[in-house]
Symmetry: D2
């Protein structure tokens, strides 16, 4: 996965559990933060339905844990869009610390119409913007 | 403080930090949970502006920490309304474990009009319902 | 999945996001709470290495989101042990609200030796206790 | 309060509630993050008992809420040490957004001996380092 985007953050004290490692659920929060920055980098606010063409909800999340992050670790979160379906987006994520892989994951979002709360196509402009970023040579 | 209402909850693994004790900020979450139950006990949903006569925002919070709660502890959270001002509510809270005081606190809420986002009087019906509960002999 | 164990909890205000639904990462916290109760029901404290024969870390988590939970919803979380490997446990989870499926998931834990932090076999007594619960007729 | 130290962070989606504003308890998390950075700026890791001369626990926290922070807001958190007692530290905090005051607070920590879990004097070297930073002209 030649990642095109990366965001860094530091592990907070409140995110670490009594084993001294980041609680497993908090990585979905890290994914969310990095995905917000991925879209900011495209010039878009991901949670603004008007900017992005709908409300995106997570349909599926998969996380594999390879090693623990600890308090105060500086983590890099790589984000790449793996696939754009009719109404879905697949995002692939890697969390590393100094190049060591800690967590890998996949988030599948479904776009919805805020009025009807039903699935809605990914807007052409969003599709175009992601594709231009992920495949600049096309 | 002869407390009139109490709610119990168990400390979650994600709420404990690397010292093995509940992270200090999580007690405000426990307060919030207990206050929700305090109003449910009055027959009201605290976060429903129509039921409660506005949106209540925290204006001030004070917490004193007397001893640490740990993972899996069963906590009792006592809630009492100390004072009802023109647009404010003062709630007093005590967190105990088997009768041992761990945290005491005070939350001051201000009622606001959802449309204008400015302070609004506590509705007469809410005032009456709290007073009837807190001073049943009046 | 004829589920053998279920735990109920109520959605907290702090767990809901600006869309008015539970933030996706918080379901892993709900899973964790229910798994703690699953093991309590077996007479064991899951996070106590001496009681459980090691420290269990999440190796993989998968969540499928079928519908949103909202503030104050009362959720049922069913837990079942799907498979016990040499050093791993697969737990299957279902979150429902009044019988409606909201989230399904799978958590794979790996047992580790607290001293060496390397994979360790699931203890025979833990294996026996889970099997006796999941397959009472055997 | 001529603040000597400031740390910036961005409001995360998971930290905002259904009213669209940061949940009140999360500001204690922001305080904690900024205090960690305050001590890093002094060359110290606040949660490392050996570096800092003990384990610091929050004894009292006070927060005043002047205005709401919202998703994606960039916040500045100013930290100043107000007083160093025999075994306590008083830290004063201000959270602003583009110069507008949102939250002010005070955290009182007590130092403890990790072995005995009882109050312990603030180490002379920590005292000296804080004083040198806060009063550089002395």
């Amino acid at each position: 996965m030649p990642s095109s985007f990366s965001h860094s953050l530091r592990v907070r004290w409140s995110e670490v559990d009594a084993y001294g490692v980041v609680f497993n659920g908090n990585y979905l929060n890290y994914f969310d933060v990095a995905i917000t920055e991925y879209f900011r980098n495209l010039g878009l606010q991901f949670t603004n339905p008007e900017a992005i063409g709908g409300e995106f909800y997570v349909r599926k999340a998969t996380l594999e844990y390879h090693g623990p992050a600890r308090f105060d670790d500086l983590l890099d979160i790589q984000v790449r869009c793996g696939r754009i379906g009719n109404s879905s987006l697949q995002l692939l994520l890697l969390i590393t610390r100094n190049g060591e892989l800690l967590v890998s994951g996949e988030i599948i979002y479904v776009n919805t119409d805020p009025a009807t709360r039903t699935a809605a196509p990914v807007s052409p402009s969003l599709r175009q913007r992601i594709e231009a970023f992920e495949n600049p040579s096309d």
